[in-house]
């Protein structure tokens, strides 16, 4: 049985290359205290400093030729001052003292008590890493990175003579954050990331169809030993070829079997967002005031786990300086907890829990998901498919969206099959699934034992900020979901 595993505490996080951690402009404890003092000089409940250094390298290959190489460094400090639920925010794109102090002063204007607060003496947390990486992709020689794309390109072309065009891309990021809160905690993390994508166009002379495959996570070059570039090339070609034979998807309400892995995006959209504490603090979520109540079939247990080795959504410390642990959100169908950032936790009178994330130093943190998972059950996936007389088997997805206030969601299928009399028959054209999150989860009647984590490619958007996330789930059947095809 495959189920997600958290790493045991591993090696200490070693200082990296960020100018705020090493060299002449390294930020000392005295400087942290000076900046926090400035931020709180007009009062406020708390303040935090978020230093970020981000170096990225990207290559895009079009039709077998490297079209462009890109890269760059982003560096800055975000300062936040909080009084009640009011946030003052400013950032500096430089580590010059006067510019950092100016940002702290701008953020401080939110506070009105006029009574300055002295921050607690800062203390650097000794953190261990959940994603140790030996050789980061961002540091690999250009030729080595090009070779990875070339392997994917060749495998896709070799897959079938109907493959007409292959595009591929590789993006690698090395990110370091240093977070210091006026509670005194100083967290530091090194967050590597790699993502590769392959896109194939196939044609049989009559129809033209496309297929995509991608993956990655908080891995180094070792990622390509787990999943090879050839795997992604062949997978993109396979989807394009399967789709050449696809027929119109039926429209209407019917049973839908979700394949393991990628379907976790439904969980993320349909349930996850509604369990972020800010929406519940503001009473705008469908799950407001429902802690302790039944919100899903008794088969359903949902967790948000920031500690999965190498997964795209994993973090060692959140963007408010808290060390996040696994959150059990729904257990046996009962709503147990929301995902809290510091402001929400203060509102609900709970300890801070490590779900505060932000896109960059230019953005305020808010409660966000990391890796959102539905835990496996006991059913054989074959039995689940066999139980359906007429329905849809949904295998691959390109994305989704939810209306938080009522839980209505939509997500897009890129690979799906018709189920007729318990068997998978022809492939279907791309279509949407729509439903209501809380309602859909009450219709889960069978749950597979085949948990799978989606290979890392998901980026979550909320209030204009994007964040890398992971999802995972076993085979699941939803008894009634609306399928948005064209065939009536």
């Amino acid at each position: 049985m495959a189920s997600p595993q958290s790493v045991l505490p591993g090696a200490l996080i070693e200082p990296g290359e960020a100018p705020f951690i090493t060299g002449p402009s390294a930020i000392t404890d005295d400087l942290l205290e000076q900046l926090l003092r400035k931020a709180l000089e007009r009062g406020g409940d708390f303040a935090d400093l978020f230093f970020e250094y981000r170096r990225h390298a990207s290559i895009s290959m079009e039709d077998g030729r490297v079209r462009s190489v890109g890269g760059g460094v982003d560096l800055g400090l975000g300062v936040r001052v909080v009084q009640g639920a009011a946030v003052g925010y400013a950032y500096s794109e430089s580590l010059e003292l006067d510019e950092m102090l100016a940002a702290a002063q701008t953020a401080s204007r939110i506070a009105s008590s006029g009574e300055s607060r002295a921050p607690v003496a800062v203390k650097r947390l000794a953190l261990t890493t959940r994603y140790p990486v030996a050789a980061e992709v961002v540091d690999a020689e250009g030729a080595a990175r090009v070779a990875i794309l070339r392997r994917a390109d060749a495998a896709a072309r070799a897959a079938d003579s109907r493959v007409r065009r292959v595009d591929a891309s590789l993006v690698a990021v090395h990110k370091e954050i240093l977070v210091c809160s006026s509670t005194g905690n100083v967290g530091y993390d090194v967050q590597p990331m790699v993502r590769m994508g392959v896109s194939v166009v196939a044609s049989d002379g009559q129809r033209v169809e496309s297929g995509q495959s991608g993956g990655g996570g908080r891995f180094g070059l070792d990622y390509f030993e787990r999943v090879t570039p050839e795997d992604h090339g062949r997978e993109a070609a396979r989807i394009a070829l399967v789709t050449l034979d696809s027929r119109p998807t039926p429209a209407g309400t019917m049973p839908v079997v979700l394949a393991p892995g990628d379907a976790g995006i439904l969980l993320h959209e349909a349930v996850g967002h509604g369990l972020e504490a800010d929406f519940n603090r503001k009473r705008t979520s469908n799950y407001t005031d429902r802690i302790g109540q039944s919100v899903a079939s008794p088969l359903v247990t949902v967790v948000d786990d920031p500690g999965i080795v190498g997964s795209r959504g994993s973090i060692n410390v959140d963007d408010e300086g808290e060390v996040p642990m696994e959150h059990r959100l729904i257990e046996g169908g009962i709503l147990r907890a929301y995902m809290q950032d510091r402001i929400s936790a203060r509102f609900f009178g709970l300890p801070t829990a490590g779900s505060g994330r932000r896109e960059s130093f230019r953005d305020v943190p808010m409660p966000r998901m990391t890796n959102t998972l539905m835990m496996p059950g006991e059913d054989d996936p074959e039995d689940i498919i066999r139980s359906v007389k007429r329905g849809i088997y949904a295998k691959k997805f390109s994305g989704g969206q939810v209306n938080i206030s009522n839980g209505d969601f939509v997500f897009s299928l890129t690979e799906a099959y018709l189920i007729e009399d318990g068997k998978l028959t022809g492939p279907l054209k791309s279509a949407n699934l729509t439903g209501n999150g809380p309602e859909a989860l009450t219709t889960v009647s069978m749950l597979g034992h085949d948990f799978a984590l989606s290979d890392g490619m998901w980026t979550c958007g909320k209030d204009g900020q994007s964040a890398p996330v992971g999802v995972g789930m076993p085979t699941v059947i939803l008894d009634r979901l609306t399928v948005g095809g064209t065939a009536v």
Partner: protein
């Protein structure tokens, strides 16, 4: 001025380091964002930013890079790294910038910058947001909550300089005010409705009270929303939903999508791609337009273009690279500046018809009026379209009840061919815009 100095210094350094061609963009910006919820301030964010981005070509090899550190020494090191990066790339003679003779030498002066925008302080923004939110609560007792009201403003100046001799400067401002109101439905569901106003000039913003009232109306109108039956019916797209459809067409007529075979319109230039109502225009010169520009990201002039005329695809939107790939003339549609140029729309819209939007319902015995769509169900390669939709049931030419949790589907090629009436309610609030229109039939996925 300082930005021009940074840009020309960067060009000099790049030439010295052996760059064959270079495009440099330098920009500075300022922003203010405030959020108010239930009368209380939730966020005041103020910041200034600056950046330098370059595209360099060395021996026909391309690299792009950007930095926020404009210190002289840092810039020189940054540019040297960009040159090094280009050496990893592969030679592509088509990537060369436009010939200098093709560049814009006298960019038109567009009215895109309002000097009053930067004068709006946090207190004034908070006051506007408070008035808008209060108007939403006052409008209807069924408004029980608010996701907040926000005001934002931004201003930006930038310079584009190229080794071909182009030098252009642009300045722009934008401000917006929005409210998200919430009503509680009988079954415990929450219904949200939002409204926003946004403009390059402060005086073009709609009144704060109006914004609040509209948000409230847009929430309560969904009370009692329910699915409708699966079937094939005529569909009227309200202008806000219609704009999303026009945006899908836009994604299929830009150069990259065509030469990369990521568009169902790849082989359709000169042929019919929609009904006679389909006249699509890309106009970079709309006065105060959100997508207006005086030159493109490669320094070319930017003429207005009829992309389709009465249903026939007349022109694609092309940057230099995609035009060379396709053996067509570039259209001055390159986005950005200092990055990899991609063709993009400026102000792209469906030409208005001459009837009031309410008359689109005439003669429909049973249909759907769509005001909001969700999800991303569009495959540009095939044109297959399927999205979640919210709106109202049309019965005997009238809106009878709210509808939600359904999907609407049809191939975009057929959908455009099925446009049978276009209203006169076009407005340039967004850079992709459309009047409301009616489509003869779409498949509803419902009960």
């Amino acid at each position: 001025m300082e930005m021009e100095a940074v840009a020309s210094h960067a060009l000099d350094v790049l030439k010295r380091l052996g760059a064959q061609h270079a495009e440099v963009s330098v920009g500075v910006g300022r922003e203010l964002e405030v959020v108010v919820r239930q009368g209380e301030v939730e966020l005041v964010k103020e910041a200034a930013s600056s950046g330098l981005s370059v595209r360099v070509i060395v021996d026909d090899r391309v690299a792009v890079s950007s930095t926020t550190d404009l210190g002289r020494a840092s810039v020189e090191a940054f540019l040297a790294r960009a040159i090094d990066m280009a050496r990893i790339s592969e030679p592509d003679p088509l990537a060369a910038p436009p010939d200098p003779s093709e560049l814009e030498h006298d960019p038109p002066l567009l009215e895109l910058f309002d000097p009053r925008t930067e004068l709006i302080g946090a207190d004034e923004g908070i006051a506007m947001a408070r008035r808008a939110e209060a108007a939403a609560f006052a409008r209807d007792a069924r408004i029980t909550s608010s996701e907040g009201a926000s005001f934002g403003r931004s201003s930006a100046h930038s310079v584009l300089a190229t080794s071909g001799g182009f030098l252009g400067q642009k300045s722009g401002t934008y401000q917006s005010l929005s409210v998200q109101a919430i009503a509680d439905d009988a079954d415990g569901k929450k219904r949200n409705g939002g409204y926003w106003t946004g403009a390059r000039f402060r005086d073009d913003l709609e009144d704060a009270e109006f914004v609040g009232r509209e948000a409230a109306d847009r929430a309560v109108r969904f009370l009692g929303s329910a699915k409708m039956d699966t079937g094939v019916v005529p569909v009227v797209f309200d202008k806000e939903a219609a704009r999303a459809i026009v945006g899908l067409v836009a994604s299929c007529i830009v150069g990259d999508a065509i030469y990369r075979q990521r568009s169902y319109l790849a082989e359709r230039l000169g042929t019919r791609i929609g009904s006679s109502w389909l006249t699509l225009i890309d106009d970079p010169g709309v006065p105060r337009g959100p997508g207006s520009r005086a030159f493109d990201g490669e320094g070319r002039p930017v003429p207005r273009r009829d992309v389709t005329e009465s249903g026939t695809l007349q022109s694609l939107l092309l940057d230099t690279y995609s035009a060379r790939k396709l053996n067509l003339a570039p259209t001055g549609s390159a986005s950005g500046g200092g990055g990899i140029p991609h063709a993009s729309t400026s102000n792209f819209y469906l030409a208005a018809g001459d009837r009031g939007p309410e008359t689109l319902l005439d003669g429909i015995s049973r249909g759907l009026y769509v005001v909001r769509m969700m999800g991303f169900g569009f495959d540009p390669v095939t044109g297959d379209f399927s999205r979640g939709a919210e709106g109202f049931l049309i019965e005997d030419g009238k809106l009878t009840r709210p509808v939600g949790e359904i999907t609407i589907s049809r191939n975009l090629d057929e959908l455009l061919g099925g446009i049978e009436a276009v209203a006169n309610d076009l407005e340039f609030k967004t850079s992709v815009a459309s009047p409301s229109f009616r489509v003869d039939a779409m498949t509803i996925g419902g009960t």
